[in-house]
Symmetry: C2
Subunit: 349 residues, 2 copies
DNA sequence: GTTCCCACCCAAAGCGCTTTGGATGCGTCA
DNA sequence: TGACGCATCCAAAGCGCTTTGGGTGGGAAC
């Protein structure tokens, strides 16, 4: 059943029926009721394709998932982000359009999305340092919000980010306070902006105590479980292994733990681990005392906020760029303890 | 730039330009070239909204993610499924529409998707035993493919599934061959069809040796890491703990391992573990010898196949329901060994 | 030289909705 | 009583594309 048929059935014009259903004031309450009931009864809802053409709005938000040949994978963090964002979209009547594209097609896909008018706005995931997508989307005039930020981009743009620098500065400072001096960092891919900021925070905390990061303790890679496992093994094989490790996600941290167990080492006692915890629903860092000491920030919440910001940018027009910086909380768990030297000292005392 | 402007610019009618761009034969190769070049030069691509209205096809596939109040989460397995399916959609010019909906709104969302004409087909995720969505979508006349199957639904429908029953039968048989008699099963949510089939396979393998499953060794829940951890602790606290455990996903298996380590137990030696491995990109069960003994089947591949089937159902019309049953391979890894009694025997021997 | 056919192109009618720009009729007020 | 305003409704014009149903002209067939 379409508008025409419904209006014929009601003895009204399509105009009136459309207005009644869309809440316009030029229609009496009595007719509106009548129309609404008939619509419900005949299970009518306006054809989305026609509505979109007539209104000129796509009523959908785009999310691009770039796949590279080497890393053909979607981060589980994305799944949680989507649960947060997707709910907001649904509430506002927007659809979520997911595009799985090859790395090299990403720019063209954005262009296409814009010229085809398939979406009203997009969310940029995993921004890199000096990310070209920001200039591209600005040029295209397509509303967007970045989940994260991009250093070295000076123009204003909407973003929602976690204070990664501070989170990692605090995490590092905590380990330093516990007496650790050789601290390893298992970071995300080096060109990722969040990884750069986390590294910066790490470096600053060390610098505050006149220490410098040691190259053989720093690594960057896709944050898989395997990465955590292999990298931890490498670290343990060093002439002077670290006494503490900071891991950028709970997923590689699971691999780190596996490597430690294989080596017969005990978490907190033999080696301390601090993670960044995105509060993933399938990997809760909880219990009476959380398993891991962690900087925590819910990515689901970030998704909700990002969606909110994008929808407002779309409906209320561009305006000044909006920015939200979320603070991560630093939670002490079961994975940290004093450095070996300090521990001995404490035991003697 | 739209069709009209482009055709004016070329001195052609919109008809001809449209035909040229869509590869219809009623246009000379010379003009087609000319049109294609002009389109590229002016960065023209047809407005998706108009195209969809005119053709009556949405050119998009729907995926619903139901969120319950209790389990507001998206399974990481879904992320991998999407990478497989999404690539196929993109290749065929389809968009992927993701709907995050509350459990109780699921039926209405399907109805709405159908009457609004927002999608050309949908994929059903996580089918339950006797899943009502199959009848619903059949009634709505919306093409669909089920990822998994639904027992007790007799009508034909398209599905792509893994042979869960056989996989778990084989896994169980392997453990029995190793001398294990008290085997625990950490399964998915009880109303899930895959969980029912896995349990059936488990039961059959036991029955083949005149054994029966023991209630206190069987559990069903959402497959989180925490579930694996807590459940394993419970199992270890039993008067007679199991000597082997079968886990329905690598994610709870990580929790199982954590619990074992906490208890000072060694994998394979003290307790054997077999998992089902979806070959998730962020959790690879690999290495020279895989970490876990596992029944393996790539969910990314399943995504690709499901997409393929749905697209063909959409373009080639309904026809007879298609079914594909994938076999999981049983791979021996480092997590299994002879049962304690057998081990002693072997050592004495 | 006709006739016919085919290759090539175009005008116009949708697709199903929203929205502009009136109409119509009734109550109100001077 | 007549003018005016307001509430309520409608006809028709898009939105930007595809597609139906012709047209036109030039070469082949007779």
């Amino acid at each position: 059943m379409n508008l025409k048929e419904l209006s014929d059935h009601l003895g009204l014009s399509p105009t009136t029926v459309s207005r009644a259903l869309n809440g316009y004031p030029e229609v009496s309450e009595r007719t509106r009721k009548r129309v609404e009931e008939a619509a419900k009864q005949h299970n009518y809802s306006p054809n989305a394709r026609a509505k979109r053409l007539a209104t000129g709005r796509a009523m959908s938000i785009g999310h691009l998932l770039p796949m590279s040949k080497e890393h053909e994978m979607v981060n589980p963090v994305f799944a949680d982000f989507i649960t947060g964002a997707g709910k907001r979209y649904a509430e506002e009547g927007y659809d979520l359009l997911l595009s799985v594209v090859r790395d090299e097609d990403e720019e063209e896909t954005y262009r296409d999305l814009a010229t085809r008018g398939a979406v009203d706005g997009v969310v940029i995931h995993g921004p890199k340092v000096n990310d070209p997508r920001i200039a591209l989307l600005t040029e295209l005039g397509l509303p967007f919000v970045v989940h994260g930020r991009s250093s070295e981009v000076n123009a204003g743009y909407n973003w929602v980010d976690v204070n990664n620098r501070r989170a990692f500065e605090r995490a590092t400072a905590l380990l330093l306070d516990l007496g650790h001096r050789r601290i390893a960092l298992l970071n995300g891919l080096a060109d990722m902006d969040f990884a750069a900021r986390r590294f910066a925070g790490f470096r600053e905390a060390l610098a505050a105590r006149d220490l410098a990061p040691e190259a053989d303790l720093i690594s960057h890679a896709e944050m898989t479980e395997t990465y955590g496992y292999q990298r931890m093994q490498e670290l343990l094989a060093l002439p002077a292994p670290p006494t503490a490790v900071i891991v950028s996600s709970i997923i590689p941290a699971l691999g780190v733990r596996r490597a430690l167990v294989d080596a017969g080492l005990k978490l907190a006692e033999d080696i301390s681990v601090v993670i960044h915890d995105d509060d993933l629903s399938y990997f809760r860092n909880d219990g009476d005392v959380p398993t891991y000491t962690a900087t925590r920030s819910s990515v689901r919440e970030a998704g909700r906020i990002t969606a909110e910001m994008l929808l407002s940018a779309i409906t209320r027009g561009a305006g000044a760029p909006q920015n939200i910086l979320l603070e991560a909380e630093l939670m002490v768990g079961q994975s940290t303890g004093p450095a070996p030297a300090v521990r001995r000292l404490l035991n003697e005392g």
